[in-house]
C-alpha cells in the first residue's frame, strides 16, 4: 500500500488545464522530485494534495483513504505538512513562535499547550539550523532563513509526508548545499518527502524518483538520472530544436552533468 496515491487528478482554471489526469504513488521513505517548466502545474498539484484546491476529477488517497475535498486542516492533521514557494510566515511572531504554531495545531493525536509547543519548536529549529535565531522577529530573517523557517514550521507538525515547494529557489551555491544537507537530515528522521525543484543538483542528489510535468500532464517518471536524459524532458524545457542539436552523433547519451544548468533557465515564480 502506498502512503499517498494520486489517481487521474485533473484541475481546470477557466480554460486552462492546470492538471490533466496526473497519476503517481508515493511510498514510505520515498523522496520524489517533481520538475517541469513554469506553469506545468507543480504547485497546483501540491495545493490539491494539501487541500487548498479540490480536484475537479480523480482521487487522492492517503493510506488507501480518500482525502481529496477534505478541509486543509484535517489533511494537515493526518500527517501531511507543506511549505509554500513564496514563504508565508506569521510576521508579528518570532521565529520560535512561528515554528511552535506547527506543533500547536498540526499534531494528529493529542493537543499541546503553548508552552509545550514552544519547547518542541526549539528542537526543530536546531534541526534546520535556525537555533541561534529563535528569538528573531521574522522580518529580520534573510531569504534562505525564511525558507528554513517554512520547513521548520511544517516539521514541527511531525508530519509523515512533507511537501516542499521550491525551498532551494533563489539560494546561492553554498546555501543550496546547506539546504540539501537539511533535507537529508529530514529524510533520515524518517519523513517521506515530495519536493518541487528547479535546481537539478537537488533532484539528482537526493531524490530516488523524479516526475516531470508539462502542461498539466505527466511527461516522464522514473529514476532522476534517466529522467533528466530523456529527450522529451529536454524538449519541454528548451524546445525541440535545442533537443535535436544536442542529439549525440554516436550512441553515447548526454551526461547528467551536461544537463544540470539548462533547466534553471525556467526558474522563477509560479503560482
Amino acid at each position: 500500500m502506498s502512503l499517498l496515491a494520486v489517481r487521474d487528478v485533473s484541475k481546470r482554471f477557466g480554460g486552462v488545464n492546470a492538471l490533466a489526469a496526473v497519476t503517481f504513488n508515493v511510498d514510505q521513505g520515498d523522496v520524489l522530485g517533481i520538475i517541469g517548466p513554469n506553469g506545468a502545474g507543480k504547485t497546483t498539484l501540491l495545493n490539491c494534495i494539501s487541500g487548498l484546491y479540490r480536484p475537479d476529477t480523480g482521487d487522492i488517497e492517503w493510506e488507501a483513504e480518500t482525502i481529496s475535498g477534505m478541509a486543509p486542516y484535517r489533511i494537515a492533521r493526518l500527517g501531511i505538512g507543506r511549505t509554500f514557494q513564496i514563504v508565508r510566515p506569521f510576521p508579528s511572531m518570532t521565529v520560535r513562535e512561528n515554528t511552535a504554531m506547527g506543533a500547536l495545531f498540526g499534531r494528529p493525536h493529542g493537543r499541546l499547550q503553548p508552552g509545550a509547543a514552544l519547547a518542541e519548536a526549539d528542537e526543530v529549529l536546531d534541526l534546520v539550523g535556525l537555533g541561534e535565531k529563535r528569538h528573531y522577529p521574522v522580518l529580520r530573517l534573510t531569504v534562505p532563513d525564511r525558507k528554513r523557517l517554512e520547513v521548520a514550521r511544517a516539521l514541527a507538525m511531525r508530519p509523515r509526508l512533507l511537501l516542499l515547494d521550491e525551498v532551494m529557489a533563489g539560494l546561492n551555491h553554498v546555501e543550496v548545499e546547506q539546504a540539501l544537507e537539511m533535507v537529508r537530515r529530514v529524510r533520515e528522521s524518517g519523513v517521506t518527502i515530495v519536493l518541487i525543484e528547479h535546481v537539478m543538483k537537488v533532484i539528482v542528489g537526493i531524490c530516488n524518483r523524479a516526475l516531470v510535468l508539462n502542461f498539466g500532464r505527466t511527461l516522464v517518471e522514473g529514476p532522476p538520472a534517466e529522467v533528466l536524459k530523456d529527450r522529451r524532458v529536454i524538449e519541454a524545457y528548451l524546445g525541440e530544436r535545442y533537443a535535436r542539436s544536442q542529439e549525440p552523433p554516436s550512441d553515447a547519451p548526454p551526461t547528467v552533468e551536461g544537463n544540470q544548468h539548462h533547466p534553471r533557465v525556467g526558474e522563477s515564480n509560479e503560482e
Partner: protein, 341 residues
C-alpha cells in the same frame, strides 16, 4: 512568553497595573459611600449624575471596542456589523422585559445568547469573504437588521420600545464596568491559549494557518460569536439603562465606526489598546461636543485625529507610549516602513 506579553512593554504594564489598582479601589469603595456621605466628604464626582453617565458610556465603549478587537484586531476581519449585535442585545432585553414581562436580570442573560446565535448564522457565510468584501457585507447586515427592526410592529417599529425606568446610576455603572472587565479578561485569556494563537495565525496568513492544522472556519466563527456575545451584553444593559431604544440609538453605524476607531487608535490586537482608545476617544468626544455647535468641531477633530493616528502611529497609542523610542522621528519612520506594504 505569550503573544500578549510580547506586545506589551513593561513600562506600560506597570502603569496599567497602577491604574487598575486605583480603579479597583474606587470600585470597592464607591458603593460604601452614600451620596450624602460623599457630599460631606467632598467627593464631588460621586454626586454628579453627568459624571456617572460619562463613566458608564466609557465603560460601554470599552466593551464594544474590546469586542470588535476580538474579531477585527485578533482575527483580522474588520467587521462593520458589530452594531447589529449591540442592537439585537438591546432589543432582546427590550422585548423580553417590556412585551413578555421578564425580569431584567433574566432578560440580560438572554441578550448575549441571541447576539451570538445571530453571529453564528451570518458568520458562516460572511466569514468566507476577506478584506473589503467582508467589511461591506457586514455593513450591509448592520444596516439591514436595523431596518427590519424599524418596520416590525411587535418591536415598536419606528416609535421604538420604552422600558420601565430603573433609577440607579450606580447599578448601571457597575454592570457596564463589570462587563468591561469581562471583555478585557476574555481578550487576555484568549491571547494566552491555543485559540488565541489560532486567531493570530488566521490574521497573519490564513492559508498558512489552514495547512498547519488550524480549523480556520471554526476559529473565525467562534471569535465572531464571542465578540457578538460581549457586544450583545452591553446592548442589553444599555436598553434598560436608557429605558428607550429605537433604530437610531442602538443600530447606529456611527457607533460601529467609533468602536473601530477606538480599537485601532488604542492598538488593535492588544489587550489594553481598545481600553485606552475607548477612554481617550470617549472623553475627547464628550469634551469637544459640549455645546450645540461643538458637535461639528468634535466630528472634524475626530477625523483629523484618526488620520494622524493611522499615518504616524498605526500600531496604536499603547505601542507608541510604551514603544521602543518615544516621541522620536525614528519611531515614526520605523513604523511607517514596517506597516506600509
Amino acid at each position: 512568553m505569550t503573544a500578549a506579553e510580547r506586545r506589551l512593554p513593561s513600562r506600560v504594564r506597570r502603569s496599567v497595573v497602577a491604574i487598575a489598582a486605583v480603579a479597583l479601589a474606587f470600585v470597592i469603595l464607591a458603593p460604601l459611600t452614600s451620596i450624602d456621605a460623599a457630599q460631606q466628604a467632598g467627593l464631588p464626582l460621586l454626586t454628579d449624575k453627568l459624571w456617572f453617565r460619562i463613566a458608564t458610556t466609557v465603560a460601554m465603549f470599552v466593551v464594544l471596542a474590546s469586542g470588535w478587537n476580538i474579531i477585527g484586531g485578533l482575527t483580522g476581519y474588520a467587521s462593520f456589523g458589530n452594531v447589529a449585535f449591540f442592537g439585537l442585545g438591546a432589543y432582546t432585553v427590550g422585548v423580553l422585559v417590556q412585551n413578555l414581562g421578564w425580569p431584567f436580570a433574566l432578560a440580560l442573560v438572554a441578550a448575549p445568547g441571541v447576539a451570538a446565535v445571530f453571529a453564528l448564522i451570518i458568520g458562516l457565510p460572511l466569514l468566507r469573504l476577506r478584506g473589503h468584501y467582508f467589511a461591506v457585507a457586514t455593513l450591509g447586515v448592520g444596516v439591514a437588521v436595523g431596518e427590519v427592526v424599524n418596520n416590525v410592529g411587535a418591536l415598536g417599529a419606528s416609535t421604538g420600545l420604552f422600558l420601565p425606568i430603573v433609577r440607579s446610576d450606580l447599578i448601571f455603572f457597575y454592570l457596564m464596568l463589570g462587563t468591561a472587565v469581562l471583555a478585557v479578561l476574555t481578550t487576555w485569556i484568549i491571547l494566552r491559549t491555543r485559540f488565541g494563537y489560532g486567531l493570530l495565525a488566521i490574521r497573519e496568513n490564513e492559508e498558512a494557518a489552514a495547512v498547519i492544522g488550524v480549523n480556520t472556519t471554526f476559529y473565525k466563527v467562534a471569535a465572531f460569536c464571542v465578540a457578538a456575545a460581549l457586544t450583545g451584553l452591553a446592548g442589553g444593559i444599555f436598553a434598560q439603562w436608557n429605558s428607550f431604544i429605537n433604530q437610531e440609538n442602538v443600530f447606529a453605524i456611527t457607533d460601529n465606526v467609533q468602536m473601530i476607531l477606538m480599537a485601532v487608535i488604542g492598538g488593535a490586537g492588544t489587550v489594553l489598546g481598545p481600553v485606552a482608545g475607548a477612554i481617550a476617544l470617549e472623553l475627547i468626544i464628550q469634551t469637544l461636543a459640549g455645546g450645540g455647535s461643538g458637535a461639528v468641531y468634535s466630528q472634524i477633530g475626530l477625523g483629523v485625529l484618526l488620520a494622524v493616528c493611522i499615518i504616524f502611529i498605526p500600531r496604536g497609542v499603547i505601542d507608541f507610549f510604551g514603544g521602543r523610542s518615544r516621541l522620536s522621528l525614528r519611531y515614526f519612520r520605523q513604523t511607517l516602513r514596517e506597516t506600509s506594504a
